[in-house]
């Protein structure tokens, strides 16, 4: 049994009389201790998928399908059951670490709150645990950080605090939604390195969400590519990076930053704009931007077909 099992999840909204579809039927299973990289552009539904899993979507979201965590159905579960799971076994960190922290509370108090309310720790126990948690995320001068306010920390330190907070409940799954997109490349490298050591130390399943393949490439064992609310390719990381089968994955591989090699006259990019939830498609959603699109692609939607090395949703997948 998979740790997290999302099945045929669909999410849509009715906004100003229009149907806005953010997730259009996604099935995804994450095993215990597995690291999955989820890649897609803004608006591809990658964040919505997991917000839905945690019951964090806005109230006007309409959902269908099923999300099971350790076999328990989360869709339609009541708030108390959800609260028991999220924040302890299943936890999530977000792109903007500043807005995820309460501005007027010291770091120590915010970390301690989680422990005193969820675990019934005493204040001194909570302090010791908070200190240990900060030390665990390799933050510099953890003692001092406890007494500081969020705005006194750098972006990287804030993200570490959030990770520390997420780890307090001793989760078995961490969803990291663009955890480094707001950070400098140097700090990003540190955070990613930390995730690596974290996984080496304990069996923690991580879903790393990013628009940049290169960010997830190091950590992920499996990479899932989303486009317009659907999975277009899912494969072991090494295979997908070396031999992407969906033209969109191929473009994403090409778009990843390059530091070595000759200077390029032009940078590769995906032409056009990412589709939005309001858009509807007859054929393949990627066809308008696809360099390999054929007439069939505009008429008939390709289904996700599972083969030996992963699944791809394309009429004309690239063969090795």
């Amino acid at each position: 049994m998979a740790l997290l099992d999302i099945e045929s999840l669909e999410i849509h909204y009715e906004r100003a009389g229009r149907r806005v579809e953010t997730v259009r039927g996604v099935s995804l299973a994450v095993e215990k201790g597995e690291c999955v990289g989820l890649v897609g552009e803004s608006g591809s539904g990658k964040t919505q998928l997991f917000l839905a899993s945690l019951g964090l979507l806005p109230r006007d979201a309409r959902m269908q399908g099923s999300v099971r965590f350790e076999g328990h159905e989360l869709m339609g579960a009541d708030a108390r059951a959800l609260n028991r799971i999220r924040g302890s076994k299943l936890t999530m960190i977000f792109q903007d670490p500043l807005s995820a922290l309460t501005p007027h509370l010291r770091i120590g108090a915010q970390l301690g709150e989680v422990l005193t309310t969820h675990r019934g720790c005493s204040r001194s126990e909570a302090r010791a645990a908070a200190l240990a948690a900060l030390a665990r995320v390799q933050i510099s001068e953890p003692e001092r950080r406890l007494r500081q306010y969020p705005h006194e920390l750098s972006g990287g330190q804030r993200q570490r605090v959030l990770i520390a907070m997420a780890l307090l409940g001793d989760p078995c799954m961490l969803i990291a939604d663009e955890p480094t997109s707001a950070l400098d490349v140097t700090v990003q490298a540190q955070i990613l390195a930390f995730f690596e050591t974290l996984r080496a130390a304990q069996p923690l399943a991580i879903v790393l969400i990013s628009h940049d393949l290169a960010v997830v490439a190091r950590l992920a064992e499996r990479i899932v590519v989303m486009y317009a609310g659907r999975i277009v390719e899912s494969a072991p990381a090494a295979r997908l990076l070396a031999r992407p089968r969906h033209p969109y994955s191929e473009l994403l591989v090409q778009c990843a930053p390059k530091i070595g090699g000759p200077r390029l006259e032009r940078l590769p990019f995906v032409p056009g704009r990412a589709p939005r939830g309001e858009d509807s498609f007859v054929g393949c959603a990627f066809a308008p931007r696809c360099p390999r699109a054929a007439p069939r692609c505009r008429e008939e939607r390709p289904l996700l077909e599972t083969g030996r090395a992963g699944a791809v949703a394309c009429h004309f997948p690239i063969d090795s």
Binding site: E41, S42, G43, Q138, S140, S154, G155, G156, Q157, D184, V185, T186, V187, Q188, A189, Q190, L192, A193, E196, H211, D212, L213, A214, V215, A217, R218, L241, L251, L252, V253, C255, A256, P257, K258, I259, G260, G261, R263, L264, E265, R266, L267, P268, F269, V270, P271, R273, A274, R276
Partner: protein
Amino acid sequence: MNGSLLEVRSLAVAYDGIPVLEDVSFEVAVGEAVGLVGESGAGKSTLARALVKLVAARRGALIFRGVDLEQCTGRALRALRRELQIIFQDPFASLDPRMTVGRALLEPLEIFEPRSSRAHRDARIRGALVRVGLGAEMAGRYPRELSGGECQRVAIARALLPHPRLLICDEPVSALDVSIQGQVINLLADLNRREAMALLLISHNIALVRHLCGRIIVLLEGQVLEIAPSERLPGGARHPYTHALVAAVPTLESLSRGLLPATTAGGAGGDARLRRGCVYARRCPHAEDRCRQTRPLLETVGEGHQVACHRWRELSAGGLS
């Protein structure tokens, strides 16, 4: 290149007495593309804003086309501003949410070409939109109806309207998906090559800057550590910090390499008033006592290549790890 367009001499900027930029000097030639790289807190955005006089300099001179901007005020400054434009990181924040794209593009025309006819202005707006690869029908849209990439193109179109000679781009693509960053960067590259418009491209990502710019300036805590020709990178960088910046870029090429030890990369900060010596000494794996005590000055190490490091000779001889 033919002559200097912008010359920054010993520029210093401070906020509330805390130095943000110290003694920054560099040049941009006519039609050149220069990259400015550094972490947040390095003073990149402050430098960009100081160049267009959105923040005041404490010391130093900004010579733009032979005129010192620091001595310029009022009308003369406004006239020079036409030729010195800037685009910002957040494509949504840099457009007035209550103005259509057309209205936003009209503004510089109203200011710089107050006597032009309506038909002429409309044609200029359409032309500007086409120039950045957007359709003329965009003019009627509001920023919130656009994607991030489209907003950034509109911002570029607006900056282009006064025919600038230098366009300063402050993290122009870091808010955009990697998949469309190339669209904007290539657009900037085209403008630079075809129209000889000089670019100052500011980014925290050295990989991005390297392809577009001929020269790269590396900034840390308000000080220039290295100015290097791009073709020397990544291998020919002389400053250990530049190497750390290069190594930190997540790429698909570097998968086989180990990730950086946390000490060499990231985590700018510390009290700027207390520091002596090299600003990188605290994090530098090669730091010695003299690095902590005396500040290294920029010295020329090759054609168009300067570095501020006490140990660059030994390190380049021994090879940087």
